[in-house]
Symmetry: none
Subunit: 192 residues, 4 copies
DNA sequence: TATGAATGAGCGTTCATTCAT
DNA sequence: TATGAATGAACGCTCATTCAT
């Protein structure tokens, strides 16, 4: 009888998500307060927690959805044939992850950890990210002595590293894009 | 006048740090409460905030000092001559960073320099970590086609990646050590 | 939606007010601590601040209510027909206002309306005090060449003056009652 | 041997007073912090308390001195011969007392009370104020059926009342000057 | 589901005042 | 006198989360 989960429930959830997105668009992720979201959505505080186990679940979903959309765009493109093309393809994702320190921290925290048993939206995107990059690597002119899965993990590691350094007072002379290019060149290209 | 810091100031600060360390040793980092620290140190709460801008500043210093001590140990050893030796050398650090989720989060948060211009203790250790690893790489049987600095940054990236996956629901079948070994082998060894 | 205030809300507020009154009855106004009030009321500290913007707001309400009760008593009596009777009628109020330096200071501070637009409880009682005294003056054997409102304002001015001098090192040889009698005689009686 | 209280002591005190006045001129009385004063004066915090028993003593002195100066101006004028002239004479004082709510409160508090045994600067000015006004009343065309001292006390009471209403949300339609005129006319003029 | 008052533990703050040097 | 680190007792606040209705 799971049919009753319909209409009003979904509408309320949608109202909450929309309200949250509005808050984020105007004030950023970090500033989001449950209070403000429910007010904007026109529902009671308790209702929020009937739809999301906690505030983190909302954030996870929101940021996860955003990353997913970016991965959709990335996956829709033809596989890049060189490092430069790969970096170009990854940049929208990189930019999103550096839009707020809070977002970066949250992504790192969810990079897998959030759930013990259940994988949340953000964690799921990591898996998808790996697949997308693995796929790229399969046919391309890249290093062949390692599995594409391992190479993809490295791409992730270097992406995180590059982002970390954006938030760092040191090393700011190099741009995010240049740093990522540097890393991926070193990591992915066959050695002479 | 910028006169020298008084002896009493140093003593009080030491009392606070010692008290904090005692709490951490018995209850862990996350459980530390400012209230408890000042009580144990026998100073007023106001004094705490005269020495540390907030609880986080104390944690930064404490964890930074701990990492520094671990780096001292690492630096004191002879340079490892293979991946296995390098992983052995790095493991104490890796273990500390994974001792508590709270510690890992805090390290990540502080990794990119607490403030714009001022680098906090933890952030500083990242620089030192790079130096130590760079030094190892100079003489060893490692990849020679990249600068040691770049290689060291990769070691950092893969270390973080390996640690992240410890707190991750996926991929837990592989141990931290094995994963780090895998990564560093792929990253540092000359290609065939 | 501005729905009616819930019963529980009223109950909690009542619990807080009652607890506060208990503290005051046993230890006086100045000794009141928010901590103690919430403990006695059996509610959380956060609840206190959900009901009263700060400790001062509680005090304002408490003292305002007390003055209101005294004004009720005063208004219930028949109008005094001479200065002596008027002073008798006013004395309970005067005594309350001089019961604690803290109370007097607080009354003075709130006398001129806590905020720009919003009049707090204490400030409100000043208006009511004026009305009560005005009413007395209407029929009595008092000065007729001035409006009762103006006369009432004078009564207030002299009351404050008399009270101020209670807390004063000088002039203490005359009692509060005698001083008020002196003032009101000069102010209210028709001149020969 | 009280001669040693000279030079440096007085210089330090002067520095403190000057610094305090600077703070007040730029930020007002309420915002004055001992910290800022000592910094501006270039002395240590402890030094402040070697010169003033507490912050209040400084305020008392500062405000007292200010009122005294205003009373000097008032006393230097010829005695006013009517209510209007009297109000004119009193206005500078009234304006100072209404410049900040904080100042008014402090004056009320010190209107006598501050000292148990010793009368402070502000309290002293009240006495002087009474004398000045009494002197005016002696020769003028004012009510003769009451002692000039009592009349002067009334002037004080009505001054305070007029000032109180300045800080009041109600009654703001009438200006300070008009209200004082109204009060003093009713109080001081012989009745028809 | 929806409601929204209540929770609650701890952090940070305040800043005049004290006191050992 | 001068110094300035230390004091200290509340207060206010935060804000995600819970729970009785």
């Amino acid at each position: 009888m799971a049919r009753a989960i319909q209409k009003r429930t979904l509408q309320t959830r949608a109202k909450l998500v929309k309200a949250a997105q509005t808050v984020i668009d105007t004030q950023g992720y970090e500033a989001l307060r449950v209070e403000q979201v429910v007010q904007l959505a026109g529902v009671a505080k308790g209702t929020f927690f009937a739809h999301f186990s906690d505030k983190d679940a909302l954030m996870d979903q929101l940021i996860g959805a955003r990353i997913d959309a970016l991965l959709d765009d990335i996956a829709a493109q033809t596989s890049p044939q060189d490092i430069s093309g790969m970096v170009d393809a990854l940049m929208p994702l990189m930019n999103f992850m550096t839009c707020e320190r809070y977002v970066f921290d949250l992504i790192i925290r969810h990079s897998g950890a959030a759930a013990r048993e259940e994988i949340g939206p953000i964690a799921t995107t990591f898996g998808r990210h790996g697949e997308v990059v693995s796929h790229w690597l399969e046919g391309g002119p890249f290093r062949q002595d390692l599995s594409v899965e391992l190479l993809a993990e490295g791409v992730q590691a270097f992406s995180i590293q590059a982002i970390s350094l954006v938030f760092c007072a040191l090393h700011n002379e190099i741009s995010l894009r240049d740093r990522l290019t540097l890393y991926l060149t070193a990591w992915l290209l066959p050695k002479p």
